[in-house]
């Protein structure tokens, strides 16, 4: 039993959630397997992704960044151009369709940066479902624009004040809500985390990112890129980007995680660098924890990376060495944010800015005539106020 069961990635993954959720998770798993094979579901999903989200998202050649960095050619997979401004909508639509199929009329979500909350509130409005979003009280402050949008869309925001009042606590609270309302409610988990089948489902709905990028790149360049980069919070945009390339051994894969203020516990969210194996929010994965197995609060300048765990598939890819995960500090991310904004005319999300920092190093190492694709996971409108505040502190 265990490691060879579905839902495990090597030793990571599985289902370690309260018993009250098990039946719902099993129902979700079997429904999803059924829907995955259904042509009708596939068509429906593709319909909304094309006509509501705006997929496929473009692959932009970043001419000025390429010149500035002086190495590999830089390409951007433009998830920022999706409706609601980030990759989160891909998963929200997919899961809302599952919820609808299961006859659940209420959806709930957790959110850090607010992008997943926004995506869920959006599909809730579109499909006419009652929507509740759990958001850390700290994040309601620092991502206030998204919090306001969520409410405007008719969803209810429930600010969570426990603990650090960020994504970890919002996730716990959403799980508690689900335990209470499991028969009427679907919990749209926002990243590739949580008990099986969530990491698999979220990855599948985000896999459009990588498969589109791969085929578009191939069509235009008659080859595959030499490397790809994405930022890793819970790990949904990155696993979506990586998945189509995992078997392409010639493609180097890089993940950027939040190095925060430094290496001390509590200063970062660098789970793949400093995490140890453990159990949190229903999954066995790498977690930032102390010597007694208590979870250490995470920190990142970007609310979407501020989580002490990571999706189990990333833990596995890190262990096997297939993906090279690197840390990016708050300062480096902020610099990359400004650089990309001014050079390319694209304001990236602070989360994505972490990926740009890693990409710059990788581009230099690769050298000219090589190609690098960055997953531009979302746009930075939500971060403008926070960045201005941080720049003010810098002076």
């Amino acid at each position: 039993m265990g490691k060879n069961l579905p839902g495990y990635f090597g030793e990571f993954g599985g289902r370690y959630s309260p018993e009250i959720l098990t039946e719902a998770l099993e129902e979700l798993e079997s429904t999803y397997h059924k829907l995955k094979k259904s042509k009708k579901f596939k068509k429906e999903l593709e319909y909304y992704l094309k006509n509501y989200v705006g997929r496929p998202s473009p692959l932009t050649y970043a001419e000025r960044l390429t010149k500035l960095w002086g190495g590999a050619r830089i390409w951007l997979k433009r998830e920022d151009l999706n409706h609601t401004g980030a990759h989160k909508i891909n998963n929200a639509i997919g899961q809302a369709l599952i919820a609808r199929f299961m006859g659940k009329k209420r959806i709930i979500a957790e959110t850090g940066a607010g992008q997943h909350g926004l995506a869920t509130a959006t599909v809730g409005a579109m499909f006419g479902m009652e929507t509740v979003v759990y958001m850390g009280a700290v994040d309601v402050e620092r991502q206030n624009l998204n919090a306001k949008k969520i409410e405007m869309l008719g969803a209810k925001i429930l600010p969570v004040t426990a603990g650090e009042a960020t994504l970890k606590e919002a996730t716990s609270e959403a799980m508690r809500d689900w335990a209470l309302n499991v028969s009427t409610t679907h919990y749209i988990v926002g990243s590739a985390i949580g008990p099986h089948p969530f990491p698999m489902i979220v990855r599948d709905f985000q896999s459009f990112i990588g498969s589109e990028a791969r085929s578009e790149f191939k069509k235009r360049n008659k080859k595959l890129p030499n490397a790809i980069v994405a930022c890793v919070g819970g790990g949904s945009n990155s696993i979506g980007m990586f998945h189509a390339f995992l078997k392409d051994k010639q493609v180097a894969i890089y993940g950027a995680e939040a190095g925060g203020l430094g290496p001390k516990p509590g200063e970062h969210s660098a789970t793949l660098t400093y995490g140890k194996t453990g159990f949190l929010h229903g999954t066995k994965t790498l977690i930032i924890q102390d010597e007694f197995g208590q979870i250490v609060p995470a920190h990142s300048v970007s609310a979407g990376l501020d989580y002490p765990g990571v999706g189990p598939e990333h833990a596995y890819l890190s262990q096997t060495g297939r993906v090279d995960y690197r840390m990016v500090t708050d300062e480096q991310a902020l610099d990359s944010f400004l650089e990309v904004t001014r050079v390319e005319g694209i304001i990236p999300a602070l989360e994505t800015a972490h990926a740009f920092h890693v990409a710059r190093d990788v581009a230099k190492d690769l050298g000219k005539k090589k190609d690098l694709v960055i997953c531009l996971s979302g746009r930075g409108d939500k971060d403008v106020t926070e960045v201005l505040r941080l720049l003010g502190e810098r002076k």
Binding site: G14, R15, P18, I20, T22, T277, F279, L280, F292, G293
Partner: protein, 266 residues
């Protein structure tokens, strides 16, 4: 025979009273006094909570207790020291731990169990470790070697097939979760509570104890008519929350509450 098994077979009570509280709230030494008070006033089994930073199966009262406890420096040495002191006060009463799996895993399963047993613990309740995981099987094996019990949770949502499968790696008693959601006091319970418990009794050859949401003597009395035991956590923890800064007051309030519940289920 495990200590819990022989207790239920002794026929000493109609329904067992199983109180719960979190160790270290507001501090470790006061926990010793609270534990002794609860034992003196009629606990048949005592559940001691090892605080965890992210208690997803717990409602606000127990969450806050864990948070207050973790403001003290957490260590297993302290947990075991306090446990031992409570155990020494009344060695015949079985003590069990309720905690989440991560701290146990981190401590190391065998090391944790050896030290827990030395401190007087005879069973574990782990709300985030489903029975059908490799870790649960390992734990069950290791507990058995030590004559300790793995107490599983069954909920109103658990299906028959799962309940039957679960009975293979359960011992001690079954913790029957009376309502949907997390721990916390409730006014009502699921309508078919009695039938569910009866079904469980017929399916699993273990005592069925009901918990989650019970707080008043009336509720305890009513449920004790058909359950083998009554588990109360949040209501006790609230007594500690409301009086905890004043140890003497807390001890009095706990003694009063515990004896009332014990009397209501006799």
């Amino acid at each position: 025979m495990s200590k819990i098994k022989s207790l239920f077979e002794s026929g000493r009570f109609k329904s067992a009273f199983i109180p719960y509280f979190t160790l270290g709230d507001p501090n470790y030494n006061d926990s010793i006094e609270f534990g002794k008070t609860i034992l003196d006033n009629g606990a048949d089994i005592l559940e001691l909570g090892i605080p965890f930073s992210d208690p997803v199966a717990d409602g606000p009262v127990i969450q806050r207790a864990a948070a207050r406890s973790l403001k003290n420096r957490f260590s297993f040495d302290e947990i075991f020291r306090v446990t031992k002191a409570i155990h020494d006060h009344k060695p015949e009463t079985p003590l069990v731990y309720l905690t989440y799996f991560n701290p146990i895993y981190h401590c190391g399963i065998t090391k944790f169990l050896d030290r827990a047993k030395e401190s007087g613990i005879v069973g574990l309740v782990i709300p985030d470790l489903p029975f059908d995981t490799e870790e649960s099987e390992t734990l069950f094996r290791e507990l058995k070697v030590r004559d300790m019990d793995l107490i599983h949770l069954v909920t109103p949502a658990s299906e028959k097939k799962r309940i039957q499968a679960l009975s293979k790696t359960s011992s001690g008693f079954i913790y029957y979760v009376t309502s949907f959601g997390v721990t916390g006091e409730r006014r009502e319970f699921s309508v078919d509570l009695k039938e569910r418990i009866k079904f469980l009794k017929d399916t699993i050859q273990l005592p069925i104890c009901a918990g989650f949401g019970i707080s008043t003597p009336d509720q305890a009395n009513q449920i004790s008519q058909y359950a083998d035991g009554i588990i109360i956590g949040s209501a006790i923890q609230r007594v500690i929350e409301e009086n905890g800064s004043d140890k003497t007051k807390t001890v009095t309030a706990l003694a009063d509450y515990i004896s009332k519940i014990r009397a209501s289920i006799s």
